[in-house]
Amino acid sequence: MWHGLVRWDLASVALALVVICGVLSFAVPAFHSAYNLRALSFTVAVTGVVALAQVAVLSVGQFNLALTAIGAMAGLAAGWLMQVAGLQWPLASALAIAFGCIAGGVQGIVIVRTGINPFIVSLALAAAYFGAMLGLSRGTSYNQLPSSFVALGRATVFGVPLLLVVSLVVAIAVVVLFQRTVSGRRLLATGANARTAMMSGVATNRMIVAAHVLSGGLSAVAAIMLVARLGSAQPSLGSEWLLPSFAAPVLGGTLLTGGRVLVAGTYLGALLLAVIANGLVLFGVSAYWYQTLLGIILLIALAVERGRQSYVLRNHL
């Protein structure tokens, strides 16, 4: 029993979730009200996709620091396409996602072609994209979006918010990609050991670019979901995404060094973050302390996960 629990990759995050949810439902009855659960599911829906955007590049062992800027660009592009250009929402969303893919792809190509340190490329492009977005939009937000689009943000399917359904469909698609397709295995092989993968005939450079394209596309999906939820596209969209985009996957056992991706764990991580933020609100703690708690939780989770792994190794479990 104990050994099984220790060996289970999601043990730390699941345990933390059970404890925190238990405490909250005893202490604050409002926690399991329908209203609160719906609010939670909206948060998890968006954070989950943001985290998957980071997971896409973590799979090849890289970071995407520009996902906040790509999200903001894609969200504003969708808003502009609908409000100013007058496009229908499916077309506008598709174009915005394509735009996100291109922005991600540019990042991947610059990393692969120039050989510049990927961290620096991503940091530089995050600033460049954000600057371009501000320069082009001049800080405007788009508030007059088509009502059919805004309705999507509030729609439910059998009582489950539509956005959560969309988020889970995206998650399943990512699971299928990594578990059931050759391309997915090649991405993971590139992340686990690029040199070995290349020797085995994997076009590692192409895989790295593909991972960045996917990451950009998923950032755009998350941005469009958030625009639908908020009913407006703002330049500040996604400005808070960076830490959760790393925290959720890491809490759920995805490796920062690449080669190992846990989508279910990522969603549990996103849920844990959402529940903690929600708990602070319910207990009436100032939202200003949320960041401190988020950082401490991330550090504890990292330390616990490392301890668990070395325990498993030491005892040959």
């Binding site: 940091l123 600033a127 600057g131 320069g135 830490l243 925290a247 920062l256 200003y288 960041q291 950082g295």
Partner: protein, 343 residues
Amino acid sequence: MTAPASPGAPPRARVRSSGGPRGAGIAVVVLAVALSVAAPQFLSVDNFQVIAYSVANLAVVAFAQMVVLAAGGMDLSVGAIGGLTAVIVGGLMEVLHVPPLIAVLVGLALGGVAGAINGVLVVRTGLSAFIVTLATASVYTGLNLGITSGKPFYYLPDSFKSAGSLDIAGVPVLLLVTLAIAVALWFLFSRVGLGRQILAMGANQRAAELAGVPVERSRIVVHAIAGFLAAAAGIILTARLGVAQPTIGTDWLLSSFAAPIIGGTLLSGGYLSIPGVVAGALLLTLVANGLIQLNIDPYWTQLVSGLMILAAGGIDRIRALTVQRMERTERFALANTAPPKDG
């Protein structure tokens, strides 16, 4: 700081001496000349002061990142530490009426402690400095917002505020503080054993460890120095603004990397240039200032900074490749002259 470019010097030293710092210096001169022709207001005394204050702050931010980069690490919490110490120093003076000098010393010490916490976490957990400092940046920013509820401390003592606008023969005192820090860092890295140990650790941690460098302790010290410098930058900015704002440091991340890299500090560690960092900070400031002087929308500043750091990253890459190629040629030459080994 640059090594002599004599033919007998090892290839690394030769490449480095021809690289970043000089290039950044030339770019600064060219840009300054171009701006003085294109924008008449550029050469005014007022504008000189604006640039001087900006460089005074930015260079210290960049020094903080430079020290960690030289040791082969990184610190994403530089801005968070700067903001946190700024509001703590402001709060000590405004709410607790602590004398400015003591408040500043407490702030610097706390910055050092915050940095040391980063270092201890990196060393003890074995996690990457990236993820550790991403998490601690969130902790420090949260503490800052929790303490202030997002509201600045406006009523700072006059003696503190006047120090921020004081100048000696037209040169702001804050710029002199930055120059003093630069000299102290130069002394540390060229004359003190600890500085050499940090560079050795950045160039090759394993080799440094085998050569007897206490790498764990040095890494903690490196992060503590970075925290101390970040605090200094936060306090410099507070003195200049006359207000302790919780938003101080939120936009430091990009420039903290850009200025050292533009100035030739290697991302891979083991080499730094203090004049290069100052030149990098000056270049970034001139670009931002030039955009304003030429009436270009300030929204575009970030785009330009991003492209500049990308270009600097490209130069860093070319330099690293040149070092590799030279070492390979040298090894080849040695292999051809030395007698063949057995086995």
